[in-house]
């Protein structure tokens, strides 16, 4: 059952001693989901959450989950949007400056 919500990574399914939980056998189906959830929320590096787990345990769609789970160490896509907006602004400013420059030079030449 837990496998619907979580995926074991970096280990062949089998026994792992986890302090506070004893020996967990990840080759079995009877690990309580609450145990997996608690481990996942404490950055247990051998469990990844599945799309179904995100929906069932956290009630969010995958795109929403990416933003909300930044507190669990998952990267949000928000910074990329901000960077691209910044780049657009910078690009526009650069274009404005470029357009203004020839006029200034022209005036200087005329004055000289």
């Amino acid at each position: 059952m837990w496998r619907r919500y979580f995926k074991l990574v970096k280990l062949v399914p089998g026994k792992v001693i986890v302090q506070g939980y004893g020996t967990l056998d990840f080759s079995r189906d009877d690990i309580p989901i609450e145990t997996c959830k608690a481990l996942y929320e404490t950055d247990f590096e051998f469990l990844e959450i599945t799309e179904e787990g995100k929906r069932a345990l956290y009630g969010v769609q995958s795109s929403e989950f990416e933003v909300q789970s930044s507190e669990f160490g998952v990267q949000s896509s928000e910074p990329e949007v901000q960077v691209s907006e910044f780049e657009v602004q910078s690009s526009l400013n650069t274009k404005r400056e470029t357009l203004n420059k020839p006029r200034t030079r022209k005036k200087k030449q005329m004055n000289g």
Partner: protein
């Protein structure tokens, strides 16, 4: 670092000595990454705790070694001269039977680098090994062989030592299943 009071911290009054009858080991060369030592700890507790897990190379896992009851010991010895203090951790144990597996283990361990994880009778774990130093075989403190009397016991006692600048508990996992490629 923020100092705190160091009280008589006994869980429900329990403070039994000795270690569990199982310890865990692997070859030092089989470790892919190590838990981290505290670098700028905020508390005394943080200063005595490793963070993270020991992760083994693909296909490798921790194995267990049985310890005859009341023969296992984990000692933290303070060594060094003034301004050069450090520690030597000692793991002493006896494994009975003199079987082929045990002989094979000693044949390997005698001159190779190992890693041990030891659990004490209060449930606290200790890691013997880091990215720089390993646990090494240091001999048989209580002898090895068949024993002289029929009332004696066959087996091998062994001692492993690990030299470390500081003492820590290990709060990470112990993988008894092989590591897989990520």
């Amino acid at each position: 670092m923020e100092f705190t009071d160091i009280n008589k911290e006994l869980n429900n009054g329990q403070n039994m000595g000795g270690i569990a009858q199982i310890a865990y080991f692997c070859a030092w060369s089989d470790v892919a990454s190590w838990p981290t030592k505290p670098t700028s700890p905020a508390t005394l507790e943080e200063n005595g705790t490793l963070t993270g897990n020991i992760v083994l190379k693909t296909g490798k896992k921790m194995n267990s070694i049985y310890i005859t009851d009341d023969t296992g010991e984990y000692e933290m010895e303070s060594v060094g001269e003034m301004d050069g203090k450090s520690f030597v951790a000692h793991l002493r144990l006896f494994n009975p039977g003199l079987k082929k597996t045990l002989l094979g283990f000693i044949n390997y361990a005698k001159n190779e680098n190992l890693v041990f994880i030891v659990k004490d009778n209060d449930g606290q774990f200790y890691l013997m090994g880091d990215d720089t130093r390993a646990a090494i075989y240091n001999g048989a403190p209580d002898g090895s062989g068949t024993s002289r009397e029929t009332a004696g016991r066959r087996g091998i006692s062994m001692e492993f030592t690990y030299k470390t600048a500081s003492l820590y508990t290990y709060t990470g996992t112990i993988p008894l299943t092989p590591a897989a490629s990520a």
